[in-house]
């Protein structure tokens, strides 16, 4: 697995003086500016004392879900995927590590049906909601992200990754270009074979309401270097694989 996934989550969480353990009010202007003390406490104490609840959407074979469950800072991981085949692989792989079963739960579900299957997941919400290499496979990404939002705790983070190259032209033209951004004239498909990071970012910043609900998205471009593994390459989010992380601010579900 790409170990930068955890580094990115860590970077996101420590970039903000607030966390899902800090009480947030709906109006972000009420949030007091951090004192150096508070900033220290959040990064330090939450890491050591408070443990995180993870939701991994589209967990596939469970490689990330397992790693999240192994972290000493994790209290639980709920990993969902609608494909029975991959879940069976994930479950049998998890049997090989006895430390996982107390923390890791697999559930066969889409994000859309999760509230029905597990209503408490909406109530209790998650400190980290991850969604790696999934969004390019769903039919209605904007709707998908709308669903995802209700599982993120206020102060918690939604973390995604995607490979720009493999975005379907569908997504680029119908969703991003028309629905989200509306800036791309039809017929320029070639130019839009690759989805730019700012287009996904656009979803979180498109309206006043969204900007109140989400913090500023953070991106990290990564490149696979043979022999060295995944490396962060600033600026590469514009051309290849990238992570996007965004913190939920608002307390009330939209």
């Amino acid at each position: 697995m790409n170990p930068l996934r955890h580094d990115f989550i860590q970077t996101c969480r420590s970039s903000s003086p607030y966390s899902s353990f800090t009480v947030l009010t709906e109006d972000s202007s009420d949030i007091l500016p951090p004192t150096s003390d508070a900033a220290h406490n959040t990064t330090h104490n939450t890491f050591n004392v408070q443990k995180l609840r993870y939701l991994d959407i589209g967990c596939g074979g469970g490689i990330f879900a397992e790693s999240a469950a192994r972290l000493p800072t994790t209290s639980s991981v709920l990993a969902i995927d609608p494909s029975p085949g991959v879940l069976a692989i994930a479950r049998s792989h998890a049997k090989k590590d006895p430390s996982l079963s107390p923390k890791l739960t697999y559930l066969s579900s889409t994000i859309e049906s999760l509230p029905t299957l597990k209503p408490e997941a909406v109530q209790k919400k998650f400190d980290v909601v991850s969604c790696f290499e999934v969004i390019e496979h769903v039919d209605h990404p904007a709707l998908f992200l709308d669903h995802v939002a209700q599982f993120v705790k206020p102060g918690g983070w939604l973390v995604m990754s995607t490979i720009a190259r493999t975005w379907t032209s569908w997504f680029t033209t119908n969703f991003m270009a028309e629905d989200v951004l509306g800036i791309v004239p039809k017929g320029t498909h070639d130019w839009h074979k690759y989805i730019n990071e700012y287009e996904l970012r656009g979803y979180f910043e498109e309206t006043e309401e969204k900007r109140r609900f989400w913090g500023r998205p953070r991106a990290m471009g990564v490149v696979y270097v043979p022999g060295l593994g995944w490396k962060e390459v600033p600026g590469s989010e514009k051309v290849g694989n990238y992570f996007l992380g965004v913190q939920r601010l608002a307390g009330e579900d939209a």
Binding site: P3, H6, A68, R70, P72, T74, K96, D97, S99
Partner: protein
């Protein structure tokens, strides 16, 4: 029952507790099927490598939550309480490079060594017994590294292991199974909800079984862990033995208390080295043929002392002759010395005695494991590589391994990786393997190069030593390598 074991295991377990465990466990066995006793790290071998690894893991807040166990065949309480009178020294000493010392300091162990028994040295005199070509490793003005002029620290292995045990006791949290030999290593079982079929299970004397997420072989040159992992170690025996002894010298050395000097002379049978210990003590490492070694061990103290003095002074022909004598080397030496011109300041001060019971010998070999890792297995120290002692690097290589493996485990922990998976362990091998291989090769070549008494290599090697001696920068490069502070090629 399980809860009792787990709670107790969380503390440093003394030997009597271990025994109590074993009793409790046996009882448990008879009642029901044993539940696996699972550790994150089971380290077999409580020598310098194994103890440093556990100390590094316990001292680091990132890895200190790991459940760790140590299995050691010897009685460690004896090692921990090891104490000798101030003027007596163990014959098993190693040089520690400043890099190793720094690492030991970082994990909080260095201060637990008895510092009065640690001897830094600042100069090295190395010469060829056949041609007398010489290289003096002293620091020319301006060539000393900023870290200081200490080339290395001479230290008794027991001072190190005893210090590490004290530090480990302070840190706590290690389940210690001492006086416990590994009898067998098998794989775990697969049940309905748990598949441990790729997890090593260490069976130790007394019947206890430890299941390991990561099994570390720090179990020395004949590593049972390496055998379990099916990792081959290639190399050869040198047909040489290392004779060690604790020597009493006529004084503190030519440089006095503050500038101690290490000496090494390449003889056709192998190098003989004399390394300074505190006061007027020095330690000997003499690699020689098994026949010579057994003669040296048989000799009465005064003849043994004469042989050591001869080894640093007489011609190789004279020395070879003295090895053929059954007795009276002392007289022979006094007589031959009068006819041998040499600069007394260029060789160690005269040896005046040898401490009782310290003359011993070990067969020398060179081994390098094909790899250091397998699924849920990692090898460190002599289990991974055994080196000729002529460069005094064996123990330091092990410290380098440990530092690297501890870092690899830390990375795996912070990234939620399974610390036993090959994928997590790969960076450890890639960091250490080549570095160790180069050093093993260089030392092996040196041994072979200097074993020739005549032939085309002999003038060449004296050219080599003299040339290196004349070239200041090259020499300081070698010195920094010896001190472990230079560019990491070794």
């Amino acid at each position: 029952m399980e809860a009792v074991v787990r709670r107790k295991a969380a503390a440093y377990v003394c030997r009597s507790c271990t025994r109590q465990f074993q009793r409790q466990l046996r009882r448990n066995y008879s009642n029901s099927a044993p539940r696996p006793d699972i550790y994150d790290v089971v380290c077999v071998g409580g020598g310098p490598a194994g103890l440093s690894l556990l100390t590094a893991l316990r001292a680091n807040p990132v890895t200190s939550h790991l459940r760790v166990a140590l299995v050691e065949a010897q009685d460690l309480s004896k090692v921990k309480s090891w104490k000798l009178p101030p003027n007596k020294y163990s014959n098993r000493c190693s040089s520690l490079t400043p890099t190793s010392a720094l690492f030991l300091d970082q994990i909080g162990a260095w201060e637990h060594l008895d510092q009065t028994r640690v001897q830094p040295y600042h100069e090295m005199q190395v010469w060829d017994g056949v041609t007398d070509a010489r290289i003096e490793f002293d620091w020319a003005p301006g060539s000393a590294p900023v870290e200081g002029t200490t080339i290395a620290y001479m230290n008794e292995n027991l001072n190190l292991t005893s210090g590490l045990l004290k530090r480990l006791e302070q840190l706590g949290g290690v389940s210690v199974f001492e006086g416990a030999k590994v009898e067998n290593i098998t794989f775990g079982e697969e049940t309905e909800d748990l598949d441990l079929s790729q997890w090593p299970v260490v069976h130790i004397s007394g019947g206890k079984q430890l299941t390991a997420r990561l099994l570390v072989g720090a179990d020395g040159a004949n590593s049972p862990v390496r055998a379990f992992a099916g990792i081959d170690a290639k190399g050869w025996d040198y047909d040489r033995h290392g004779v060690v002894a604790t020597l009493e010298m006529e004084g503190e050395g030519w440089g006095g208390e503050h500038t101690k000097i290490a000496y090494q002379r390449f003889l056709p049978t192998g190098p003989v080295a004399m390394l300074p210990m505190p006061g007027n003590i020095a330690t000997l490492v003499w690699s020689t043929t098994p026949e010579n070694a057994s003669l040296l061990k048989r000799l009465p103290p005064k003849d043994f002392v004469a042989m050591v003095n001869a080894a640093f002074r007489l011609s190789t022909v004279d020395l070879a002759f003295m090895h053929t004598q059954g007795a009276d080397q002392d007289d022979e030496y006094s007589w031959r010395l009068q006819h041998t011109p040499f600069n007394s300041r260029a060789v160690p001060q005269t040896v005046v005695g040898v401490q009782e019971g310290t003359v011993a010998s070990f067969p020398l070999k060179m081994r390098h494991a094909d790899t250091y890792i397998g699924e849920r297995v990692a090898l460190v120290g002599d289990a991974a590589h055994t080196i000729h002692p002529l460069a005094g690097q064996g123990l330091n290589q092990g410290q380098g391994d440990v530092q690297s493996l501890a870092k690899t485990i830390e990375f795996a922990v912070t990234h939620g990786q399974d610390i036993g998976s090959i994928m997590s362990l790969e960076s450890y091998v890639s960091e250490r393997y080549t570095a160790n291989h180069v050093l093993l090769g260089v030392v092996d070549k040196l041994h072979k190069l200097y074993s020739a008494e005549s032939g085309p290599l002999v003038p060449l090697r004296s050219l080599g030593l003299n040339a290196v001696n004349a070239l200041g920068p090259l020499k300081s490069f070698f010195m920094k390598q010896a001190a472990g502070s230079g560019t990491k090629i070794f």
